[in-house]
Symmetry: C2
Subunit: 450 residues, 2 copies
């Protein structure tokens, strides 16, 4: 058996190509919509992909399985609770499918979602005994995937299911089972302290994973452990889960149009430049979402799912890379690209950027310090008296930001805070962005609390 | 911890880049001479390679560690018995080195070679408890590395050491330790039935690895199990081990010269074309070593280490790829390339190629059937009355081949047998090559024995 992991840094999403080179066949586990890397890897190994296994109906990225099934003669396999509305084979708990000499056992592992299954794989050429677990969100490196994504009504029931799943379905497996999760470090499907390793072994997690250890004790302890340190769930998640129930088509990549002023008024303007460049002059109303690995997730956290978008960059290569990221989370309606700074003479927006010491002085003079990081970051330490609103919630909670005085926004490094500043500006405020974020505040030796 | 495996198909050689991305550092385990892929992978992860660990003084490929140390400020780390003659840090059993938050424990594991060590790694950010074993040849997927490479005097002592190593140093580790060996399927450092997986877990091997199971019983049983199914050790191994003691310089890749006739007489001519093309006309004296993944190993099995070579191909890209393979096994003296078929009007060599039925008829008429496969392949089944001489031993045992009648050479698929035919031709015989090898013999329903 040959195994290749694909990892999307921005989403913390791991997917897999698992091949039986002797029989010339392979399967995928939880592929995303960008199919070419899987097809290329399969071609390189000289194998044909025959199946694509889905551990659950994903919240965080658009599944590539239905698109692949539309292009190639493969079977998409799900657990029998998935109820996806595209052609698929559904497996009940303990049912198996053989791909070459690889026997894939379906193991019902509800918790992260109700229909969640894991796939336990044996290489029959070596033994009937399974050695590999594709655990989806049922067991992660140092954690499990969160159970609160489907709303508070389901949360308690899912927490209970996750507890039973760990105790009876996962931790009961042999120590020597290698564990390949779908969610890794950086995924908003788990808390931000997920370790940097991208796979693990079962016995090691039984011994060193706090959630697994808690699950071997009482439910209350487990419940408390899984709730710790969770980031705000990005607003786009329900949209993507609905799309995955339906089955997304292949990602269509017609060349992006270059738009001229005036730009269509119904699209959201996305400015991917660095905060200090954005601050020095930008189109009014544009959101500053820096074009790094986290671009798509941050956009999904602040722009309603399905919104038409315009990317403000003249770099075609960057525009295509960003559109590719957006396709991963189902934002396909990119209307075109445009110059981030038009030469129409229109009045540009500006965001004042200050260093930590200046921010402290402004705070002393009465400015509001607005901390837009996740709760776990805020609780560790923050600027004295800071107002805490995670950037994902800022639009909805904008009334909480005092008007009539300066607002200094900060995050960890100055990137999320620039996005927050652009949200505030769009609502008529004149925010100030703190350069270098809270880390520069701490390096400057300024007072903290928390 | 992030781990990337590099696998050389032809040699069955696995090497590793192991990174601590948080601290921005990484180490290599058993790298080969082609350093660029490691450097590229490290750059992609944004880490600096600081150490290169050698599990043993390798027989099968030229280590890249000393060459890397000459280019970059890294430390080469070996076990304290390695006695390599280039700058290095040597670790005694149980000593450790930290690379970022990764703690590397040296574990003396003699057997495959006397100085052999394994490296047991803990990611201190998760636990002091080690989760990863770089086992070199001490534990492979389904096997261990052979103990007979250093000659019959050492063999018994090494077999005993390998037995103790497995019982006391390796199988005593936790089930959940993931095992990353240096030798994989296709390596002549182990028997040919090595499974196709390229890493494993300790508990799984304890349960399903025949050699590990035998080691938990008595020594005699273990001794018998490890001797089973070994291929002929390629003749180049001692040359490479000596070079690795010395420390090989970086691979110098000046463009290959195109040579004109007459070709220098002191170089061995290597014809990498397909057997039927070679058979239809080739330079007399040329060896037919097909330019596939096994090119370098097969050349190393039949051409004395250090020989000057001429590659008979006009395809520059192929020539460079073959030279790259040769550098991996230390055959650096490639004098140039030349046309496989000169237009000088000289008399070309020809090898008659026949199908299995014709071979059977020739055999019935008195031809010698010469089986040049490995012993394990021959013992499974062979043509009735076939003479068995593995191609690696053919030059030395050529007197055993009867003269004065036809010789039909076969292997599994017709590739090794064409090399054997070219060796026979060089010694004045007129061999016949059986197309499609023994598999086509079986498909044709011809009689077998064994």
């Amino acid at each position: 058996m040959l195994l290749q992991q694909f990892f999307d840094q921005g989403l913390g999403h791991a997917s897999y190509l698992v091949a039986d080179p002797d029989e010339g066949v392979a399967f995928l586990v939880d592929p995303d919509r960008h199919l070419q890397p899987y097809l290329d890897a399969a071609a390189k190994l000289g194998v044909l992909i025959t199946h694509s296994f889905e551990t659950h109906v994903h919240n965080d990225y658009v599944s590539g399985s239905p698109a692949l099934a539309a292009l190639r003669p493969i079977s998409v396999v799900t657990g029998d609770g998935a109820e996806v509305r595209y052609p698929h084979v559904s497996l009940a708990d303990r049912e198996t499918i053989d791909v070459g000499a690889l026997r894939v056992h379906c193991v019902a592992t509800p918790g992260h979602t109700p229909e969640h299954v894991s796939y336990l794989v044996a290489d029959l050429r070596r033994a009937d005994d399974p050695q590999f677990l594709f655990s989806g969100g049922a067991l992660l490196v140092g954690h499990i995937a969160r159970v609160d994504l489907l709303g508070p009504e389901l949360e308690e029931r899912l927490a209970r299911a996750a507890y039973e799943t760990l105790r009876e379905r996962v931790l009961s497996l042999a120590d020597y089972v290698a564990v390949f999760p779908t969610h890794g470090g950086g995924s908003a499907c788990t808390s931000s302290d997920a370790a940097s390793s991208r796979w693990t072994t079962l016995g090691f997690e039984r011994r060193h994973n706090d959630v697994a250890r808690a699950a071997m004790q009482d439910f209350a302890r487990f419940r408390e452990t899984i709730a710790r340190g969770l980031p705000v769930a990005p607003a786009y998640y329900p949209g993507v889960r609905a799309l995955n129930h339906q089955g997304a088509a292949a990602y269509a990549a017609a060349p992006l149009r270059v738009l001229r002023d005036p730009l269509p008024a119904d699209a959201t303007l996305i400015d991917p430049r660095a905060p200090h460049v954005f601050g020095s002059g930008h189109r009014r109303g544009a959101l500053n979402i820096v074009g790094n690995d986290s671009f798509a997730v941050r956009l999904g956290a602040v722009v309603p799912f399905g919104s038409p978008l315009i990317l403000l960059t003249v770099d075609r290569e960057q525009a295509e890379a960003l559109r590719r990221q957006l396709a991963t989370v189902g934002y396909d309606d990119v209307r075109g690209v445009a110059d981030p700074v038009p030469d129409t003479g229109e009045d540009l927006g500006r965001v004042r950027v200050v260093d930590a010491r200046t921010a402290k002085r402004l705070s002393d003079e009465g400015a509001t310090m607005l901390d837009v990081r996740e709760r776990s970051e805020y609780e560790r330490a923050h600027a004295p008296g800071a107002l805490h609103i995670p950037y994902e919630q800022l639009q909805d909670r904008i009334a909480e930001v005092p008007r009539g005085r300066d607002v200094v926004v900060y995050c960890a490094a100055g990137v999320r805070s620039s996005l927050a500043a652009s949200i505030l500006e769009r609502s008529g405020l004149a925010p100030i962005n703190m350069r270098g974020g809270f880390s520069s505040w701490e390096i400057a030796g300024l007072p903290t609390e928390g």
